[in-house]
């Protein structure tokens, strides 16, 4: 992990809650402490005031004989035994209570702990008022005394002082306990929270390490997804998913570049050959043929490149669809019109069964290219004189286009991989891109392509695309009387023979 623990996220994650907890609990304790202390002081003060009253009465009512001092001292002694929350069996309470009775013209009467002078001096210097007992600090005593001050009419003053050591000790013990427990809780809380955060972040750290390794080595590595179903597992899963896509893209790219390079080599060689022939036989009209040949090969090459790029784009999910309501029946009809002569030339019978008003929300250019690819397939791969049927139906909110033929069907082993790029039949002259492109386009539209074989009696390619809710627009209404469907053409050709037509030189 990181070099210092303070730079880790788990440190930061646990620090702030711990600080908040420590401050909050200390504040709560302080409030409780103040309330308890106030309550104790009030009880002490009530006792002091009452006792001072009693002692003042006694000192006034007792006859002033030689026993006066003894009497008052005795009463004060008794009073000091009644002090509140006196610790049991803890020595005489005399050193916590003092009583002073000042008399005019006489020494003050003092009952309490020694040295008596310290107390008298403290009382002299204090600015005490009658009524509520007030604090008094006496030199040499650890605790301040609460002192009740009661002037007698024309006969001096009564002071009664009390240092509540029991309460002070209790409060001190309370504070000590609190600090111990509080400290323990804060430390424990911090450790638990830090450990939890560390454990969690450790998994993140493992992801980081794994990703670094994957980035440095190969893309086949995957992150452990773990037994949990929490955020971090989701992160791992998402990451694995992304890796999957990256790896497949890279793989596709590799396949693409390999096969493009491979596919280009032979046409480039052939073109070079044609041009060389043109150069060396460059007399009269003899050069025309090889040059035209070279141009045709170049066209084919450019086409392959274009289709490869389109396909790469489509498979990488980078296709930008320009969707619009598209009357699929209309489009298919136009394309079949275009293909009719080519089919007829190969003596295929084309049977159309197109439902009206099947509208999808699609990219017209891509969809027509996909359909064109399907028709190209039929033209190229079927032996002469087959029956091709094209059916369009709408159902379950989907448009379904089925292209079916009674040819030999897909070669065994090819059907499962038909959508892969550059997969083509052994004797196919195609480039193996057609069906892969169809598949990519249809998937980009949220549909699917299925290939079924009729046991050697033909192939069925079925394309399903979500149908649009919109009503059919008048798009491409230039067909007028052009198509008289269903077509049923087995065209008698003017010239029988396999030669491609229209290739005579000018």
């Amino acid at each position: 992990m990181a070099d210092s623990p303070r730079s880790t996220a788990s440190w930061r994650i646990s620090t702030w809650p711990t600080v908040a907890f420590a401050v909050g609990s200390a504040a709560a304790f302080a409030i409780v402490y103040l309330l308890v202390a106030k309550d104790i002081r009030q009880r002490t003060d009530a006792w002091l005031s009452g006792e001072a009253e009693v002692l003042a009465n006694v000192s006034q009512n007792v006859p002033h004989d030689y026993l006066y001092d003894r009497m008052v001292e005795e009463v004060a002694e008794l009073a000091s035994r009644e002090i509140p929350d006196r610790p049991k069996g803890r020595g005489p309470s005399r050193d916590r209570v003092f009583f002073v009775l000042t008399r005019i013209g006489q020494e003050p009467l003092y009952v309490g702990p020694e040295p008596k002078e310290a107390f008298l001096r403290a009382l002299d210097g204090a600015d005490l008022r009658p009524g509520i007992p007030q604090p008094l600090q006496v030199a040499g005593r650890p605790l301040p005394f609460r002192v009740a001050y009661l002037p007698r009419k024309g006969a001096g003053v009564v002071y009664l002082g009390f240092a509540d050591e029991g309460a002070a000790r209790m409060m001190r013990r309370l504070t000590e306990r609190f600090v111990q427990i509080w400290f323990g809780m804060v430390v424990l809380g911090f450790l638990i929270s830090a450990a939890g955060a560390y454990r969690t972040l450790r998994r993140v750290e493992r992801i980081t390490e794994a990703v670094a390794r994957i980035g440095a080595e190969d893309l086949s590595g995957r992150l452990p997804e773990g037994p949990h179903r929490d955020e971090i597992s989701r992160l791992s899963r998402t990451f694995n998913h992304m890796l999957e896509r990256v790896q497949s893209s890279v793989h596709q790219l590799r396949v693409l570049t390999d096969s493009v390079a491979h596919d280009m080599r032979s046409p480039v060689t052939a073109i070079r050959g044609s041009l060389e022939v043109a150069l060396s036989d460059g007399e009269g009209q003899a050069w025309r043929e090889p040059v035209a040949d070279a141009i045709e090969k170049l066209d084919r090459l450019a086409e392959t490149l274009n289709t490869s790029l389109d396909l790469a784009e489509a498979e990488a999910g980078a296709l930008r669809l320009r969707r619009e309501p598209l009357d699929l029946g209309e489009l298919v009809r136009q394309l079949i019109d275009l293909y009719q002569p080519a089919m007829a030339e190969r003596r295929h019978e084309v049977i159309c069964d197109l439902q009206e008003g099947v509208v999808i929300d699609g990219d017209p250019s891509l969809i027509s290219r996909a359909i064109t690819n399907l028709l190209d397939n039929e033209v190229v791969h079927l032996p002469l004189g087959c029956r091709v049927s094209v059916a369009l139906r709408r159902g379950d909110g989907k448009a379904r286009l089925v292209v079916e033929d009674d040819g030999p069907g897909f070669p065994a082993g090819l059907r499962a991989r038909a959508f892969e790029r550059f997969v083509k039949g052994q004797h196919s002259t195609g480039r193996g891109l057609g069906l892969a492109f169809v598949n990519a386009v249809v998937q980009a539209h949220g549909g699917g392509v299925a290939i079924t074989d009729r046991d050697g009696a033909g192939a069925v390619i079925s394309v399903t695309v979500p149908a649009a809710q919109a009503v059919p627009t008048g798009r491409g209404s230039n067909d007028k009387e052009r198509s008289s469907l269903p077509h049923n053409v087995a065209g008698p050709l003017p010239e029988e023979g396999g030669r491609p037509p229209g290739r005579d030189d000018d």
């Binding site: 025309r288 043929e289 040059v291 035209a292 040949d293 070279a294 141009i295 045709e296 170049l298 066209d299 450019a302 086409e303 274009n306 790029l309 784009e313 930008r320 320009r322 136009q334 019109d337 275009l338 293909y339 002569p341 080519a342 007829a344 030339e345 250019s365 027509s368 290219r369 064109t372 690819n373 028709l375 190209d376 033209v379 190229v380 195609g430 480039r431 057609g434 491409g476 007028k480 009387e481 052009r482 003017p494 491609p500 037509p501 229209g502 290739r503 005579d504 030189d505 000018d506």
Partner: protein
Amino acid sequence: MDLAADGRAGEALALEGIHDALVVDLNLPDMDGLDLIARCRSQGNAAPVLILSARRSVDERVKGLEHGGDDYLTKPFALAELLARLRNLLRRGAPAQAESVQLRVADLELDLLRREASRGDQPLRLTPQEFSLLEYLCRNAGRVVTRTMILDHVWRMRFDPATNVVDVHIYRLRSKVDHDDRRPLIHTIRGVGYVLKDG
């Protein structure tokens, strides 16, 4: 025609203001072709611009047309197509010619209203598609049209099918127009396309 090897030279040439149309390659050695078009436009050159580019996605094309281009042609292209497109651009600026209802090439006659064709005095029995194809060839009589152009104008399709669908259409049309011992009108220019001409 003047040729500039880079954007700066092109800008200087365009500022002379003597050219009827500009052909701009987007991939210039010293600047972006779109910038060049923007500069020419901002300096008052209103000549139509044909963009040439190897970038062929729809987005790129739209971008080019939105940034002052009047037409867009992707590489590789046939020279015949470039010429046809330039002619279109130049025609666009000129006042529209009265739309004729008849086309005539040698002894071939097309009645565009009734959509009927005849050669000599013999009426030709053409399907609507064949008529559209013949009409397109006649409108471009004497000029070579490529398969791509035919697909675009007759079928409104902007791509090339892998198969020879256009060739078959031409073949069928030719069998009706040029049959018997008549002088052939529809000629194949191998490697390029077709041309309709007398002789």
